[in-house]
């Protein structure tokens, strides 16, 4: 104990020395790195001009940000559900058999105490024999988690996800967006490997948010740009480049979120990075997705980068992370990823406020329904509900959801023959449907119906991210992980799988 305390005290007088030190990189293993990436943006895209128009009476200055759309979580989406969707997308590209760790990074996870990552673990059907953790504390939770995973040398999934609820009429209400991105790291044939990295921890408070509260409090933007971004990032990047043995002008892709307009371009110029290397911060499409954003921009960059290119990933916040990555000969096919496209523009600002809980509408007595979740029931149904695991009769092949002791096939009737069978990625279609205006739902009408899977399994399911006009018997569906019910009385929420319309672009 005594020696440890002494060591800490000795280190204290030399912070500047610590900050200029170049971290020695262990020799990079060519077969270890990023195996796959994925991202998820909510289907709803809030029209910024609409938001600005609503605030024009008291904040006419917002007009400057009033272009494009920002992503907006549906009523049944949160940081956790988006994390699952991003994780699914990344694991589609690469699913190593030896995943040892899962990190879910966010400043807006729904639970302070209930491991959010273990919900994601079961929804992604990862082995439960892994180390799963939530990472939080600031905007670098995602980039730092990725760096640690790349340095740790074992297969892991890192997910950044964010659903912030800014104060109405703040600039962040316009500039922030909701979304998630995931990176799978491991051994095999990586699409990119880490060449060098550096970090710095600084209590430079450009903004903060008190625990348990919505809405950021931020300092003057000019100070943040000049003293924060302008002075904290360059030395860290220089150390990372030095470790990687790369010059700034050799950077092919400068991946840096820009929660302040064009701050990435200013930093690039200061560092001597070519302007054309600066990656689009996706303001027009989704806005800044916080902890998720560096991973989200990386997912986009890796989809368009050529072989042997150098990527500099930088995230600012309570200091800085800088990662120098190099793409390999193995490429992610397809150019601009599907998750960037699609979407449905939302021009109803009051609906947005209702979804974020910033206005309390009169929903009638049906909304008083008590949703007290029996936690014991939730635990024994965990795989069935969160993993969407059905039971497949090993004798006749009938797939049951939920699984049961006795096979439902009247020609079979075998007992205790059902094996786990996951329905999350099985093709499905609508058998019947309705738009129910009577039962309470946070976004009426409540759409639900009978769904038939390829295995002929039949499940009565909720539909989400559908327009009523998209419902027709026989229409194809995709499964998505969503909030089932919210229990405001106890601050609990439970999740399940729902069906959404399967559209051409595969995304929103």
């Amino acid at each position: 104990m005594q020696s440890g305390r002494t060591a800490v005290m000795c280190a204290f007088p030399f912070p500047l020395l610590e900050r200029t030190k170049v971290l020695p990189m262990s020799t990079p293993k060519e077969n270890f790195g990023i195996l796959g990436v994925g991202a998820y943006l909510p289907r709803l895209r809030l029209d910024r001009a609409t938001v600005a128009a609503n605030h024009k009476w008291m904040a006419p200055g917002l007009k400057g940000l009033a272009k494009g759309t920002r992503t907006m979580a549906n009523w049944d989406e949160d940081a956790l559900t988006m994390a699952v969707e991003a994780g699914r997308a990344a694991l589609t590209q690469a699913r190593p058999g030896d995943i040892a760790a899962l990190t879910v990074a966010s400043t807006t996870l729904p639970f302070d105490d209930r491991l959010n990552a273990s919900v994601v673990c079961s929804a992604l059907a990862l082995s439960h024999q892994i180390n799963a953790m939530d990472a939080s504390g600031g905007m670098r939770a995602g980039s730092s988690a990725l760096l640690r995973a790349l340095q740790a040398g074992q297969s892991a999934v890192v997910i950044g996800t964010e659903r912030r609820i800014p104060t109405p009429a703040s600039t962040t209400e316009l500039s922030y967006g909701d979304g998630a991105a995931a990176v799978v790291v491991g051994s095999g044939e990586p699409v990119a490997v880490l060449r060098g990295a550096a970090s710095a921890a600084e209590d430079f408070i450009d903004h903060f948010r008190e625990a348990g509260h919505d809405g950021d409090y931020g300092w003057e933007e000019r100070w943040v740009r000049e003293e924060g971004y302008g002075k904290i990032i360059p030395p860290v990047v220089k150390r990372a480049l030095e470790a990687a043995g790369v010059k700034a002008e050799e950077i092919d892709h400068f991946v840096m979120p820009a929660p302040l307009q064009k701050v990435n371009q200013v930093v690039a110029k200061k560092l001597g990075i070519r302007p054309e290397a600066v990656a689009d911060a996706l303001f027009e499409v989704c806005g800044d997705t916080g902890v998720a954003h560096p991973l989200l921009m990386l997912a986009k960059t890796l989809a368009v980068a050529g072989p042997g290119q150098t990527i500099l990933l930088v995230q600012f916040g309570g200091g800085c992370d800088a990662l120098v990555l190099q793409t390999t000969a193995k490429q992610i096919a397809g150019g601009d990823p599907a998750w960037l496209g699609g979407g449905r523009t939302e021009t109803n600002y009051l609906k947005y406020l209702s979804f974020t809980g910033q206005i309390d509408l009169e929903w009638g007595m049906r909304a008083e329904m008590d949703n007290k979740t029996a936690l014991s029931a939730a635990w024994r149904s965990e795989a069935m509900v969160q993993g969407f695991v059905a039971g497949r009769c090993s004798k006749c092949g009938t797939v049951h959801y939920p699984s049961s002791r006795i096979c439902v096939n009247p020609a079979c009737g075998a007992t205790d023959t059902q094996q786990p069978h996951r329905l999350t990625d099985e093709p499905a279609k609508i058998r019947s449907y309705t738009c129910d205006w009577l039962s309470y739902k946070q976004c009426p009408p409540f759409m639900f119906g009978h769904v038939e899977f390829e295995t002929q399994a039949r499940v009565l399911m909720e539909f989400t991210d559908c327009d009523p006009g998209e419902l027709a018997v026989g229409n194809p569906l995709a499964m998505t992980f969503r909030i089932k019910e919210v229990d405001p009385l106890r601050g609990f929420r439970r999740y399940c799988w729902k069906a959404k319309a399967l559209r051409q672009n595969g995304g929103a």
Partner: protein
């Protein structure tokens, strides 16, 4: 093989409260209203009743748990009373208990009473409950109209009928029931409506609009049953008997297996075949003089016409539009207004249907009395199309 229930049990007396929004009445008042009518009709003393069955479905917190509310409300003299619940088929389930008790020889006279006090919730539609145990973790918590609207989507797809054509046939169902209820003094909704009213009504669960949905009501209905011999000995000249009483319950096939079309009530198909056999009916289209079915929603009544074997598959909309089930049609359906207009106090509905057949058989139906009534059918459904309880009774004259 057992011979079944045909003609082994007679209905000695029946009663039915006025259905509706009975703001000033408790369940006790409703039970007494139905019971006093039945007791007077039966011409017996309360002390002659040896056993009783109480049917209550949703509002047990209001009516009360166990069979106590019936025993206490009626001051029954420490006899055996059982409470039964089988969703919206609860009323028929109560009757089944009393009828089987008499048929078994365990008692001579038994009582069945169904009651529901739904209008203390503060809103329209059925009451909702706390949700958080296993089924709620994954099942959509849609409304009852939402569940039955699924029939319409699947029916359209199966038979290739246009949405507007199906809706028009459904509208005819509701207009007919409102017409009938205008001549039914105890009915909840006695106003006449037009096809246009139905088509323009507020949407509840597409394609079901307000007028495609039945009333949510308070009410009670009851029956006193005995053997035909005792009925005659008590002076009954026109003895009405139970010809069949069948119950079929989903085992999960419709919900989970691949052999259900989604456009039919499978339990009704099964139960009706068994009921016709028990009643000795070979051609129900010829034999049945009237029917009371579970028209919780217009589309339910529509598909049931096929599932009971009265319309050919895919033909119900056309038979309905042809007036086949109207008051002056071949097989009048819901001559008292049905669930749609007489009302649907859940636990009472099955017994209310039997009450109408009984009333028609005895020529007591007043303005809505049908001619030449010898035999009628009731069909009472609990649950949702993909998972339910279906009860069917066939009631007629002794020897018919």
């Amino acid at each position: 093989m057992a011979a079944g229930i045909r003609d082994r049990v007679a209905i000695l007396g029946m009663g039915c409260s006025r259905f509706g929004e009975r703001w000033s009445d408790n369940a006790e008042d409703l039970m007494l209203e139905a019971f006093n009518e039945a007791l007077g009709d039966a011409g017996i003393e309360k002390s002659q009743i040896e056993a009783a069955w109480l049917g209550v479905c949703l509002e047990e917190n209001n009516v009360g748990k166990t069979s106590g509310p019936l025993a206490q409300g009626l001051r029954l003299p420490y006899i055996a009373v059982s409470r039964v619940e089988n969703a919206c088929a609860t009323g028929t389930e109560a009757l089944r208990g009393a009828v089987y008790a008499v048929a078994s020889g365990a008692c001579d006279i038994a009582l069945a009473l169904g009651v529901e006090k739904l209008k203390d919730t503060g809103y329209g539609g059925l009451p909702s409950r706390t949700r958080g145990v296993v089924p709620d973790l994954w099942q959509p918590n849609g409304s009852a109209p939402g569940a039955f609207a699924q029939l319409a989507a699947a029916y359209q797809a199966k038979y290739g009928i246009k949405a507007e054509d199906l809706k028009r046939a459904m509208a005819h169902v509701s207009v007919k029931s409102h017409d009938n209820a205008a001549r039914s003094p105890k009915a909840h909704l006695r106003n006449k409506i037009t096809i246009e009213d139905v088509l323009k009504a507020q949407m509840i669960a597409e394609p079901l609009g307000l007028y495609d949905c039945c009333g949510v009501s308070d009410g009670a209905a009851c029956a006193i049953v005995t053997t035909p011999e005792i009925a005659k000995a008590l002076g009954k000249k026109d003895v009405i008997t139970v010809k069949a009483l069948q119950l079929a319950v989903s085992n999960g096939e419709e919900a989970q297996f691949n052999n259900w079309d989604g456009a039919s009530i499978k339990t009704a198909e099964v139960a009706s075949v068994r009921a016709y056999k028990e009643a000795g009916i070979t051609n129900p289209r010829e034999a049945l003089d009237l029917i009371e079915v579970h028209d919780c929603f217009s589309v339910t009544e529509l598909v049931l016409m096929e599932n009971l074997g009265l319309s050919d598959p895919g033909r119900a909309p056309f038979d309905i539009l042809d007036g086949r089930y109207d008051a002056d049609g071949a097989i009048p359906c819901q001559i008292d207004g049905g669930l749609k207009c007489f009302g649907h106090p859940i636990g009472a509905s099955g017994l209310r249907m039997v009450y109408e057949i009984y009333t028609q058989l005895l020529g007591r139906a007043g303005e809505r009395q049908l001619k030449d009534v010898d035999i009628g059918l009731t069909q009472n459904l609990g649950g949702h199309p993909h998972q339910n309880v279906c009860a069917i009774s066939i009631i007629g004259r002794l020897g018919a």
